[in-house]
């Protein structure tokens, strides 16, 4: 087994409620993501999964613990940890092609290479027809494809995604999930993604980190063994596999156990 791509050790995050009191949003979070793995952070709302992801990105400072990427402690946000958000983040004033080239432009990649790489990722995300369009002219799913292409074209060491398909309609969402599995495979990218969608987590993941609330911590580190150690590109193939239903039930039990009790009683 190769060394971990990303390693979190006893990560914690406290927020100040007022001068005296603090609340631990995240505590003692430790897990590892292997090279080329698609790992999802799953859990009830308020479990701190987005906070963990934002700390990996460097957008929030941990109160304790450490995060190492490729064996080195992470620092400020940088291109090695490209992030895709749930909210649309296309730069409205740039065309699709200019959006995808943006990261390479600020990192001073030569123009020729920039164009070539952008064209490759635009093709990969099925956006070639729209490369000269402005984001306002695109649908939500296309905007997220632009965001993914822009991040991947910038050559990150890990792709971070914060509920990237959460704002999309159901049909677009599963197309995007299949596209994600395909491109992660083709570009050999390590992915850490936050989701609250159980079906989505089971379909795309090689590893599921299930988090509980109050404080947010790792409740289960799940490898979906029923997938027989391979990726499936069609969602229905995964749903049809024996073992799918069992894992879904297991995660739903975890959700009930660690979710908002006050609402179910």
């Amino acid at each position: 087994m190769s060394a971990a791509k990303l390693a979190l050790r006893r990560l914690g995050k406290q927020f100040a409620l007022n001068r005296q009191e603090t609340v631990a949003a995240v505590a003692e979070v430790s897990f590892e993501v292997m090279e080329n793995e698609i790992c999802t952070l799953l859990g009830p709302s308020g479990c701190g999964k987005s906070t963990v992801l934002r700390m990996v990105a460097g957008l929030e400072r941990p109160s304790g613990g450490d995060i190492a990427l490729d064996g080195r402690a992470i620092g400020r946000p940088d291109r090695d940890r490209g992030m895709v958000f749930q909210a649309y983040t296309s730069f409205d004033w740039l065309t699709v092609r200019e959006n995808v080239e943006y990261g390479m432009r600020i990192n001073r990649v030569p123009a020729g290479e920039r164009r070539e790489r952008a064209a490759h990722f635009i093709e990969l995300m099925h956006l070639t027809k729209f490369r000269d369009a402005y984001p306002r002219q695109l649908s939500g799913g296309m905007k997220q494809r632009v965001a993914i292409a822009r991040t991947l074209a910038n050559g990150p060491s890990i792709l971070l995604m914060d509920e990237p398909f959460g704002a999309l309609d159901a049909e677009t969402r599963w197309h995007m999930q299949e596209l994600l599995v395909t491109i992660a495979e083709e570009t050999r990218t390590t992915v850490l993604m936050v989701t609250h969608d159980i079906e989505e987590a089971i379909f795309v993941s090689d590893r599921i980190i299930f988090m509980s609330r109050q404080p947010g911590t790792v409740a289960a580190d799940i490898i979906p063994a029923f997938k027989q150690g391979r990726r499936w590109r069609r969602k229905e193939e995964v749903i049809e596999l024996p073992g799918y239903g069992e894992l879904e039930r297991q995660i739903m039990r975890l959700m009930r156990q660690h979710g908002h009790r006050d609402e179910s009683e």
Binding site: A57, G58, R81, T89, D92, W93
Partner: protein, 270 residues
């Protein structure tokens, strides 16, 4: 002839129902036609003293006559004052507003000062400006500048703070440094709103221009109107009001046109 779209007759007043662009246009023109018609008829019927309320066509004839005389020089000096003072206000407000909207430290330092000035009515500075700057162009330009700049800074700061945090964070995780984020994300993202803020404050600028020219000037549209008052030339005063209104609309339209041309990407999907 309009083909019957459905068998229900279209009513004039219907909640939530949009109306055609043509009908909106006709209605918009209609109210002005009615306004002038009532005015003209009122004067013709002797309902008002013609000395105090000249008829619309009299005002129009006077205006045409004035445009052949000295009036264009007054208009030109007024426009010059507006543009020069407004340019000065923008040169300060745009960079400062963007800086204050981008960095909390800059906001914490400048904002208590800037927002306090907003509550001081600019015309209250006229006496002291006259003492300091004499009777030339100085006090007029200064009044226009003071009247506009603090509001413009605040508007631009607020628009800059409204730049969505996700697009800034996206740039960070793509490896952009602070200077790159400022110039390649914040500035282009806020620019359309900056232009809107400028358009709104230019309209305010006209208000201060007229105040400055009425109380402390011998040239310009406002000064002309005060001169006309002395000779009971109501028609000339009204012609002045018309010109100010028309110029306001023209500048507004120029800004809208500039906005449309400068930001083609804001046009939605056809």
């Amino acid at each position: 002839m309009t083909p019957p779209s459905n068998n229900r007759r279209e009513r004039w007043f219907e909640f939530l129902r949009p109306i055609s662009a043509r009908r909106a246009w006709i209605l918009g023109v209609a109210i002005w036609v009615l306004f002038f018609a009532f005015w003209e008829l009122g004067v013709a019927a002797g309902a008002v003293t013609e000395l105090l309320v000249p008829s619309p066509h009299k005002v129009l004839m006077t205006l045409i006559g004035m445009l052949a005389g000295d009036f264009p020089a007054d208009i030109a000096i007024s426009i010059y004052r507006i543009l020069l003072s407004f340019l000065g206000a923008c040169l300060l407000a745009v960079p400062l507003g963007i800086l204050m909207g981008s960095f909390r430290t800059a906001e914490a330092f400048f904002n208590p000062f800037v927002s306090a000035w907003r509550y001081l009515p600019a015309p209250s500075f006229i006496p002291i400006l006259l003492m300091w700057l004499g009777t030339g162009e100085g006090p007029k330009l200064a009044l226009l500048f003071i009247g506009v700049v603090f509001f413009l800074i605040t508007l631009i700061m607020d628009h800059t703070k409204d730049v969505r945090r996700e697009i800034v964070e996206t740039a960070m995780t793509l490896g952009a440094n602070r200077r790159q984020i400022l110039w390649t994300v914040i500035v282009p993202a806020v620019l359309p709103d900056v232009l809107v803020a400028m358009r709104q404050m230019l309209a305010v600028s006209w208000t201060y221009l007229v105040i400055a020219e009425i109380v402390a000037s011998t040239t310009g549209i406002g000064a002309m109107m005060m001169r006309a008052r002395r000779f009971l030339h109501t028609d000339e005063i009204m012609a002045g009001i018309v010109v100010i209104g028309v110029l306001g609309i023209v500048f507004d339209m120029l800004f809208r046109l500039g906005h449309h041309l400068a930001f083609p990407y804001l046009r939605e999907r056809r």
